[in-house]
Symmetry: C2
Subunit: 111 residues, 2 copies
């Protein structure tokens, strides 16, 4: 995305057979916009970001958010903010592909 | 959103008869997550943010993005990043309601 342009976000998901797939849509020191793509059964383990907030927005499929010890059902259109330091993750518990938009701020630290 | 929780984002849109409606979903010094809600014919005029990046993600309806002199058609699922300083806006050119998720980074400057 060198020049600003409109994309249909879900079409840019990249899946990987062995683990969650990642695609980067935009990256700056302020903001990282990416897609997390999960085959059935794949997960992003519980983790936390020091000094960063993260927005998850479900684009396709359903599964669960892992949030600080809880498992919260999610489906397309659902949004979750994991603020600074709050452990979070995702698990595709369904039999279909799951695509989640992930926005982090601040963004890339020198790469 | 005092405690992190899952919401169905589009359901939190707030419409106003006289102009674009706004709702805030999350706010920190790093990140502002909000919804812009447009009745048919309503618009958010071309504007720019110095030192901030903005992600637009269309949740419902269709219309056009205004981007640096261009008008780009958009529909649900479309995403546009307006980086630091790039003029952008939204116009609901349709006959239905339009809801757009807007994420800005960095976020609130002392309120």
């Amino acid at each position: 995305m060198d020049h600003p342009t409109v994309i249909h976000a879900v079409d840019h998901a990249v899946f990987a057979p062995e683990k969650m797939g990642k695609a980067t849509l935009f990256s700056s020191p302020r903001l990282l916009v990416g897609l997390n793509a999960f085959e059935p059964g794949q997960a992003h383990a519980l983790h936390a970001h020091a000094g960063m907030d993260k927005v998850y927005h479900v684009l396709a499929g359903d599964g669960v958010f892992l949030l600080d010890g809880r498992e919260l059902p999610m489906r397309a259109g659902d949004l979750l903010v994991a603020p600074d330091g709050v452990p979070h993750g995702v698990r595709n518990t369904s039999t279909s592909r799951l695509v989640v938009l992930a926005v982090l701020a601040p963004g890339a630290h020198g790469g």
